[in-house]
Symmetry: C2
Subunit: 371 residues, 2 copies
């Protein structure tokens, strides 16, 4: 475990030292977790000029029960600061200066103006440069360890959803169904839900990120659920839409087939070298052609990993191309105000055709089930 | 409702215009919610030089189900930006410049260096100054509307805890007890839990923010629960420690009496004009005198409101004095590694003695119950 993180840190060193940096300060929590395997609140990671890596953190609740991850020494030094008042990033800057660094690359997209000024004041002879999104870039392509965690997160998610489908739904409220799904996610070993579980019935169905209400499931409803497990810090997402009752109405079949076709087109467009916007286009144009262009969400998919919505973003304006081993969601949806709608979300890993094409992690059926 | 928020905005205007500012940009989510009553993700609030207030936000998922709060027009203009790519803070700076502002006060403790640079680039003739924590300062003392929400949050919390105490606990896991508490919080009308519910049994008891495990409750255990409801955005906290079984052991009674005495001393020290550090001292010195000074958390209480841990902080180094109508927690605790411990957390509102002294919001008994 820890060797993996040491290797990630040295890969980062190789890249930014090539860029002329001598020391780097990582402050963004997801980036710190990626490079250390540790989820420490309000911490700062210094990659020092002396080649030493130091994780600085406030005492926090001294008795905080969070377990340290397994794994022997990985060359990471821990420094716990005396008071919560002291900012670990400032302490890291002082440490870098005392270790002889003349420049320190910081995450300007994460540090606030006030903290940046405090760093400059604490280490006046240190020239602060911008590390930019070097760590986020490195996080794009996942290693086997990360993909393994994502597969387990998806397995947990499929189980939780599968169990719900076996239970009686009619008459239960969106809130209670969402709470039950979250309980099942935990039962199957999730750290926690990857995002607030959404259950949307009837006229609410098809809404992205709908907050569950006290509306009860009725015969004939579309029922949209969106959930995901977080496992060892890795997030996945599934979204499905069902019909409650004996058989779907014609308009429901029609709308479902359309969204299904769009979602499949998006999935099939996933390949190493495919442009982000091409993938979005593949799903989007079908919905636009059917006259639903107006109300579409600004993206049809996003990256997942240590964050539920990370790079890349599959949207019309996105720049860049997919690589192998990049996990993304494909999540188009259509909502008809007053009537309801359909969302179908999957989490997949980009793979070359030679390896069988995109790896589908969320395997719950996408047939239109009548429950 | 909206009049309240309009009044808060004009109170803020009065204070920072006195400080020579022309226009202000509020970017911190809790501050935006305080000034607008709206919980809009990734939004920016501009208090313009023309006296107009504008809330700018990205489209987000167009079909997002979040309801707008009740209340008629409150002079707040809404601007939804074309793409999620565009930063509302940058758009707000451009709007301020086009409205004729020469300077714009921004929240340098919230804006990242990268966003601040983008603002400067988008509105080069605009001089950016620091609004500092003007909004946080204004949020310290709560108005009746806010205290009412906090009282309901505490009521919900007491109900959820009270129901749990009536159920069988032995043999159930920390995880399941925590999930049940969160379900009950929702059942009683919470927006969501105010923070991750903590249930700690046996040797885990007394740990602050302990993450529930699969350990089962056993006879003779100390059982520490920490939970809180968020209601209309307002957070409260309660923490209680119980003994499972017929009767507590002597060491349990002794430790409980000590923490109870410290917590009461902290509560009794709450008064308008009392220094933050005095209140901390009142609770802390008893625990230090008993030889538990080493492992104490860095603070014994914190402010609550639109955030669960906001100003003030009751800690040895904190500067400042309490005012009336400031809600705070008093939450000392002691944990004996390998044995367990005790935490007792309450949420109270500071009141002058003339009004009966501190108002206790979380009224669940603090006797040492044997369950």
């Amino acid at each position: 475990m820890s060797e993996v993180h040491a290797a990630r840190r040295s890969r980062l060193r190789d890249r930014w030292m090539a860029a002329g940096n001598e020391a780097a300060l990582v402050s963004r929590p997801a980036n710190i977790r990626y490079l250390t395997g540790r989820a420490v609140p309000a911490a700062a990671l210094l990659l020092g000029p002396d080649g030493r890596d130091t994780l600085l953190s406030p005492p926090g609740p001294v008795t905080d029960g969070r377990p340290e991850p397994p794994g022997g020494p990985d060359g990471l030094r821990r420094l716990t600061l005396p008071g919560i008042a002291s900012d670990p990033a400032v302490a890291a800057a002082e440490l870098a200066a005392s270790a002889g660094a003349a420049t320190l690359a910081v995450e300007e997209h994460d540090l606030t103006v006030a903290r940046h000024r405090a760093l400059a004041a604490a280490a006046p002879r240190l020239r602060l440069t911008d590390l930019g999104c070097a760590v986020e870039q490195q996080r794009l392509v996942k290693d086997e360890e990360e993909l393994a965690a994502l597969r387990i997160a998806a397995e947990i998610t499929d189980h939780a959803l599968g169990e719900l489908l076996e239970s009686i739904l009619v008459g239960r409220t969106e809130r209670h169904l969402a709470l039950e799904l979250e309980r099942r996610l935990m039962d199957h070993g999730a750290d926690c839900p990857a995002f607030p579980t959404s259950v949307a019935t009837g006229r609410n169905s098809g809404l992205a990120g709908h907050r569950p209400t006290d509306r009860r499931v009725e015969e004939g409803d579309f029922l949209t659920v969106q959930l995901g497990a977080r496992y060892r810090g890795y997030h996945c997402r599934i979204g499905r839409t069902f019909v409650v009752g004996p058989a779907p109405a014609d308009w429901q079949i029609e709308l479902y087939d359309l969204v299904f076709a769009a979602q499949r087109a998006g999935r099939e467009a996933l390949a190493p070298g495919a442009e982000y916007r091409e993938v979005d286009r593949a799903a989007r144009h079908l919905l636009e052609a059917a006259g639903y262009g107006e109300a579409l969400a600004p993206y049809t998919g996003r990256g997942v990993g240590l964050e539920i919505g990370e790079d890349p973003q599959l949207s019309p304006a996105a720049m860049g191309k997919l690589d192998a081993c990049v996990p993304v969601t494909v999540e188009p949806g259509v909502h008809l105000p007053g009537r309801g709608g359909v969302r179908i979300d999957d989490t997949l890993v980009v793979r070359p055709q030679a390896d069988g094409g995109p790896e589908l992690l969320t395997i719950t059926t996408k047939e239109l089930l009548a429950l």
